[in-house]
């Protein structure tokens, strides 16, 4: 029986808005499997999920003053702040390529743990695990955000791993109304951790990327290296409706006499 093909797309500093458009196009306009790794976003951004309400999730007036881009993505889940120190890993799958994985959120999430745990171990972190719906290390500290979109027998599961983050930008987010039980009331900076602190050895970031790719091969895929030129035609598919949109946070800020001062990033 032939192994299903997994197209590997390695990117660096692709803007997150472009990345999300590309992911959604590949999900909806192709029947191919993709592993996309974008090592860092081109510029910082706040990214909310499909139903996220910015006033509840973002310090909108501060974010407007900061001048940070805001985006609504096509997948579920919560709000993240991303930048050049965020490592993005995206899986786009045809269900028939993983017949043992039901196309529902929990089975997909559980399968991704099988992909990422060996990759983290290879990079020097043996205690990576899935807890509730988050990836954790060091006994209970979150290392990134996950979200999914499922359309029939195809799905996307994308993750933003926090290699590093800026606490000031992280402070632009409000604490969500619902938190996982394992958070146990911890402050945000006690709840999340930087991967650079967990994988401190030289070259670990690159080893993690290579570990993710190797782990996919070990799970039974036939890997094919691709380029952006191979993936981009999906964006030109006719009748493609994309759910990722730019958000203008100014519409959520109460007007005052002076207006918010924009700061360039």
């Amino acid at each position: 029986m032939s192994r299903p093909v997994l197209n590997i797309l390695r990117l660096c500093r692709l803007p997150i808005y472009t990345q999300l458009h590309l992911e959604e196009a590949l999900l909806r306009a192709t029947k191919d499997n993709w592993l996309i790794i974008n090592d860092g976003a081109f510029n910082p951004a706040i990214v909310v999920g499909i139903s996220g309400r910015p006033p509840e999730l973002v310090q909108c007036d501060e974010a407007v003053r900061y001048g940070i881009q805001a985006i609504r993505r096509f997948t579920g889940g919560g709000t993240v702040v991303i930048d050049h120190d965020t490592l993005f890993s995206t899986l786009i799958m045809q269900g028939s390529s993983l017949p043992q994985v039901d196309c529902f959120p929990q089975p997909i999430m559980a399968w991704t743990e099988q992909l990422y745990r060996p990759a983290f171990a290879a990079a020097g972190c043996p205690d990576f695990a899935l807890r509730e719906n988050d990836y954790i290390v060091a006994g209970g500290r979150k290392v990134g955000g996950n979200a999914q979109a499922i359309t029939g027998r195809r799905w996307v599961h994308h993750t933003s791993f926090l290699w590093d983050f800026d606490p000031e930008r992280m402070g632009l987010l409000r604490q969500p109304a619902k938190a996982p039980q394992y958070r146990q009331g911890r402050d945000h900076l006690d709840f999340v951790t930087r991967l650079r602190d967990v994988l401190p050895t030289r070259g670990a970031r690159q080893r993690l990327v290579e570990g993710i790719v190797s782990s996919a091969a070990a799970l039974g895929f036939d890997l094919q290296e691709r380029t952006l030129a191979d993936a981009a035609p999906a964006l030109r598919h006719p009748q493609l409706l994309l759910g990722t949109k730019l958000l203008d946070l100014r519409t959520f800020v109460a007007p005052d006499g002076d207006g918010p001062q924009r700061r360039t990033t």
Binding site: I50, G76, P105, A147
Partner: protein, 159 residues
């Protein structure tokens, strides 16, 4: 299925067999989900309940259970034309936005606005208060291509 047979045997000896068979006939049985009789089902886990030329549409108990807590339902506009097998909206559960597909073609004549404030109704009452849209059907013949309760239950049990 095995539990239903066991239960009816025991209760039959107690003279309650007729009542059990009547109750059992109202539902087919998955391991833990309910599949209600009298509905038609799409393989993509939506159900249709038909009255005249109007189909009320929602997602199955199996689907809501697998999705988890529903936190948002994206409803189409009234007047939207839907086609059988094409997406008409999105149901968001924790982390996941899942497309929902219309089991029939036609025009959306009503949407369940109650789901805007209480999306979890899809979980608590998937076949009744958790309905999502109502469609004035353009081709009732499409109902023949949908699954009845037993066929849908059998399909789900294969997975």
């Amino acid at each position: 299925m095995a539990l239903r047979v066991f239960g009816s045997g025991v209760l039959g000896r107690l003279g309650l067999q007729a009542q059990v068979m009547q109750a059992a006939a109202a539902t087919a049985t998955l391991a833990y989900s309910t599949v209600s009789q009298g509905y038609k089902y799409a393989a993509s886990h939506e159900w249709a309940s038909v009255e005249g030329n109007t189909a009320t549409i929602g997602i199955s108990d199996h689907a809501q259970e697998q999705l988890g807590d529903v936190v948002y339902v994206e409803l189409p506009d009234v007047g939207k034309v839907v086609k059988q097998g094409e997406t008409f909206g999105v149901v968001e559960s924790v982390k996941a936005a899942s497309d929902v597909y219309s089991p029939v073609s036609g025009e959306v004549v009503e949407v369940n606005q109650a789901l805007v404030d209480k999306p979890g109704t899809v979980n608590t009452s998937p076949f009744e208060e958790g309905w999502i849209i109502k469609v004035k059907m353009s081709n009732k013949g499409e109902l023949q291509s949908l699954l009845d309760a037993d066929a849908y239950a059998a399909k789900c049990e294969k997975h």
